[in-house]
């Protein structure tokens, strides 16, 4: 019997959430989110600012009580058994959840002591983590002088003191420079090798692409798509084709032609006479160009773009990612 349980528990989910709802005033910040995260995987929650990513994490991490729905972490209900769930998770917030006025060592020692480590043990653990995250030199300096990357690393180090089997990372690389971001990615990959499960939120498709085994795309508080990275990508087309017609009056006809030849839905922006279409098969573009020439439509510009978060959104939700700054930063990556 116990062997049977052990066998089934290996397949158990690290996170199971059903119909999570959180309402702030009259804003349904999270509106019926279902998630299933397999033990030992990296799960990405992708979405623009204000989509509800942080609220989902806060509910799963017992920081916020769901208004409806339920969630379990390794089989323990987050509302009924919060103190057990807290022993299984590490949370790294969007804004570093460490004490600004104290030094890195002091922060880690205090968190270690709170987690039940003895005085000497806490000190040893802190040194070990500082070493591992390359913060030894800065250990005694007050955090006020830390760079964004150092703060994030310390924050992550603090989440790993108790070696939790599940780690929540809320936008771990937002605002980091590319080099620091790559270091953070390596760290996250190493966590998985040691047997942890990671749930991370991100605004960047590339990040989800690099790290996540599965992705949930969140928009307006709901999951609009879920699957592996490949599944999502193929739903968007690997790249998108952008056409600009010379005569803006031609745009309607040009759009019809594009939709007919490529057999896809397109988005136009009338003021710039731009047509954007997902490009699943590059060979078909030749057919399209011939068709356009035969129809007598002259092009001003033609470009191919790799899929961005915006395209995922356009294709899945039918509208763009609202937050323009999000868009810009996603594209600049």
């Amino acid at each position: 019997m116990s062997q049977l349980r052990a066998a089934t528990s290996k397949k158990e989910w690290a996170i199971e959430a059903e119909g999570l709802v959180k309402i702030f005033g009259d804003n349904r910040a999270v509106d019926g989110v279902d998630l299933k995260v397999a033990t030992g995987s990296i799960y990405g929650v992708l979405g623009p600012n204000g989509a509800g990513k942080t609220t989902v994490i806060r509910m799963l991490a017992t920081l916020l009580r769901p208004d409806a729905g339920s969630a379990r972490v390794f089989g323990h209900d987050v509302v009924k058994e919060p103190q057990i769930v807290r022993q299984l998770i590490g949370v790294t917030g969007q804004y570093a959840s460490v004490d600004e006025s104290l030094s890195a060592t002091e922060n880690l020692v205090i968190f270690s002591r709170l987690l039940g480590l003895g005085r000497a043990e806490a000190r040893r653990k802190s040194e070990e983590l500082l070493e591992e995250f390359g913060l030894t030199e800065a250990a005694r300096r007050p955090l006020k002088n830390f760079s964004g990357g150092m703060r994030r690393r310390l924050d992550l180090a603090a989440s790993l003191i108790a070696q939790p089997p599940l780690i929540f990372l809320d936008e771990p690389t937002t605002g980091l420079d590319p080099r620091t971001r790559n270091q953070m990615w390596d760290t996250i990959r190493r966590l998985i090798q040691s047997g942890s499960t990671v749930l991370l939120t991100t605004q960047y498709l590339e990040e989800a692409d690099q790290l996540a085994d599965r992705i949930a795309v969140i928009d307006h508080g709901g999951v609009v798509a879920e699957g592996t990275v490949d599944e999502l990508k193929s739903s968007v087309g690997t790249s998108s084709l952008q056409l600009k017609v010379q005569n803006p009056l031609d745009i309607g006809f040009a759009r019809q032609t594009v939709e007919r030849v490529l057999n896809v839905k397109t988005i136009i922006s009338a003021e710039s006479a731009n047509i954007t279409a997902p490009m699943g098969d590059a060979d078909r573009v030749t057919d399209l160009l011939i068709a356009l020439r035969e129809a007598g439509i002259s092009l001003a510009e033609l470009s191919v773009q790799k899929p961005t978060l915006d395209e995922v959104f356009l294709s899945i939700t039918g509208h763009g990612a609202e937050d323009k700054s999000t868009l810009a930063s996603a594209k600049s990556n």
Binding site: A6, L63, I84, G90, G93, S97, D99, E106, F111, P164
Partner: protein, 270 residues
């Protein structure tokens, strides 16, 4: 990350925090509070200056009018000033708690498997350092100005400890305001409105029999008056009376009421 992490499904865990763990967590949080005071010593400005300035000011303004001369007023005013200053200091506890809670680190405290009361109890405990500084300075000022307590050193220490205990209890009220208020400045505002009448409508500065009857009724009920009387008896006479018992019972009641509702409000707040 060198060792392999034990799978979550195989861990044996409990969903409650033991009393011993609560105490340990609170002490660790108090240690954090002390470290913060050590890092920003300028926040001790008020507890250092207020006892000095208030003692000088009140003694020389009211001394002649109330007790005939300064020297006779000292045994009356020093206990009064002591209670007023130390209790006013406890407002800062609420204000700082509000500021602290807005920072990300409180999210981490909430996500840790620690006793829920620890972040609050620890902060309040660390602030007893502030009360101690204010207490010592007020007595020192009194001594410099000529106060020679009849009760002796032992009873003065007892009086100091009594005031610190009662202020710690009262700081739970301000902690509650700190947890429910939106901004730090509103905590300061509400707390002053509560505390100002409470400390002045007492026997702290002026003999009660000079007040109108209806006011005397309130002043005699006021727990601050009992605390001031208890301190006066200890310092000036070296006696322990019913006022001391009233003060301690009052302190216990405040903690019993405000500690649970503060922790509840803290848990709800996001």
């Amino acid at each position: 990350m060198s060792t392999f992490i034990k799978p979550g499904a195989e861990r044996q865990l409990k969903n409650h925090t033991s009393f011993g763990q609560s105490v340990r967590n609170s002490l660790t949080m108090a240690y954090r509070g002390l470290l913060k005071i050590k890092r920003t010593p300028e926040q001790l400005f008020d507890v250092t200056l207020q006892p000095i300035i208030f003692t000088l000011m009140f003694t020389y303004i009211f001394g002649g009018a109330i007790s005939g001369d300064i020297h006779n007023y000292l045994p009356v005013i020093i206990p009064g000033i002591l209670v007023q200053t130390v209790i006013t200091t406890s407002i800062v506890t609420g204000v700082q708690l509000r500021e602290d809670m807005e920072k990300g680190v409180f999210d981490r405290f909430k996500s840790l498997p620690i006793s829920r009361i620890a972040p609050l109890a620890g902060a309040l405990l660390a602030d007893t350092v502030r009360y101690t500084i204010a207490t010592v300075l007020t007595f020192a000022m009194g001594y410099v100005m000529g106060l020679r307590p009849e009760g002796g050193f032992g009873h003065v220490v007892m009086a100091g400890v009594l005031v610190i205990i009662c202020s710690w209890a009262i700081s739970w009220i301000f902690a509650f305001f700190g947890v429910i208020a939106r901004t730090a400045s509103s905590v300061q505002g509400i707390s002053m409105i509560v505390l100002f009448p409470l400390t002045f409508l007492s026997n702290a500065f002026v003999p009660v029999d000079t007040m109108p009857d209806w006011l005397q009724w309130f002043v005699k009920m006021n727990p601050i008056s009992h605390l001031v009387t208890a301190v006066r008896n200890l310092v000036n006479l070296g006696t322990i009376g019913s006022d001391l018992v009233y003060s301690l019972v009052g302190a216990a009641v405040i903690v019993a009421v405000f500690a649970p509702i503060t922790v509840r409000a803290y848990m709800r707040r996001t």
